[in-house]
């Protein structure tokens, strides 16, 4: 019994450590939504432009989500609502946003 518990703990810890903050805290919830994370990135980018503005605005929204400042359409919000306030630490939130930016940023991707 003890061996089984230890095995499960090791597997779970290894799985958690293998995933980064973005994959742990963002991807699972957004997987069920019809708009991809890239689509949302482009919506956000359209409004906030540069990296600094983008990250600051996104962090603020995740801390204080509101329909008024959302970049998503009213139809989307009516169907899926506004997300819960993020309870992640500053460090984790910054890390997740940085990864999100690096993954979908336009820099270096155009030909």
């Amino acid at each position: 019994m003890v061996k089984k518990f230890l095995f499960a703990t090791v597997v779970l810890t290894s799985y958690t450590a293998a995933q980064n903050a973005y994959e742990r805290h963002c991807v699972p919830c957004h997987a069920s939504l019809p708009t991809s994370l890239q689509g949302m990135f482009m919506n956000h980018l359209l409004v906030y432009g540069g990296e600094h503005n983008f990250k600051a605005a996104l962090k603020h929204y995740l801390r204080y989500p509101s329909k008024d400042i959302s970049v998503m359409s009213d139809l989307f919000i009516d169907n899926f609502g506004i997300k819960e306030k993020s309870t992640l630490s500053d460090k984790e939130l910054n890390e997740a946003i940085d990864i999100y930016w690096d993954k979908y940023k336009v820099f270096g991707k155009l030909k």
Binding site: S36, M42, L45, G49, N53, L110
Partner: protein, 395 residues
Amino acid sequence: MSVLKNKATNSLLKSEKKSLFRFLVLYTTMVIVLMVLLSAFYYQSQEKFMLAEERATLSKYAYIQTKRLKVLHHFFDERDTYPRDSRFRSAIYDNEFAKIFSLIKEENIQFDKEIYIADKMIHFIETLDNYYLGARYLVIEVEDDTQWRAEIWKHIFIYGSVAFLVFMLFGFYLAKLFLKPMRDSIVLLDRFIKDTTHELNAPLSAILANIEMMDTDIMAEKNKKRLARINIAAKTVSTLYQDLTFLTLEHERHNEDEPVDIKPLLEDRVEYFNAWIHSKRLECFMDTEDASIVIDKRKFTRIVDNLISNAIKYNQRGGSIGIKLRKGMLMIWDTGIGIEKEKIPFMFDRYMRFNESEGGFGIGLSIVKKIVDEYHMSIEVESEIKKGTRIILKW
């Protein structure tokens, strides 16, 4: 013959030339500065005009490119090829001026300007309302057609030359206007001299003739001295009269050039001034060899008379004068007051006098210079204050 038509008066004096030169240099500098400023303003206005015309075309290109960016933004997960156009090159920058993508050659974009020229390229900066692909600035670049610039330079050269010419003519008119008071006073003095010269001739001739005719053998020693003084005074006035006549009436007679034997002429002129030389207790050194020159004798006499009389007049009592004659060279020196180096170039100007203690009009050396120039001779002046002056004539 009107004095106003006198050639000597119409030619510019050195001091007049200097004033005219200074004025013209200052005026020309100001005109050039003005022309450069006007040209710069004209160039800038024409450049702005050309850019205003280009702005309409470039705005249209920016609008087209914005629409293409919009499409690419919405389909970015499927497409990643930046839209290109053969008519222009473009680049996109985010609101932190970081380059997102660029097809243009210029690296240092001037985001504070809407349109500008750099490296023969026209650049147009469009600020986007929506940050398609995160872009805040869209830069459009086209080749600069340098034809307009050549046209502007052509206009600047043609109109500039015409304006410069007009300004310079105006400058000459102004210069003449400024020099008129100086010129008027010279003309007035000339007229006065000419009028008085005529009245001097008859009494002067009578005085000199009667002095020559006087029997000095029966004269008391005291009266002999008095007569010698009268003789010197009369000869001084006679020399002045000769100079004034030369100055005012010379252009009315023709030169009678002939080979002149200089040595006897010098001896004759020294003899003429002998009484004056003795009265100032001067020692006269003659070092003459045979030499001749082809010249109007009357004019050469004027040169010799003026140089000798100056050597006597500006000498100190008990000093020396010397005359050295060689082939092609005549030197007359004195141990007089001398003249400052910086004043030497002006000593041949008419009415120029540096020593008010001695009488005279200041015309003697101007006559010398005039004759020297006429016969292409050269004249050198070496002088040291309180030591003396050497005037060397070469032909």
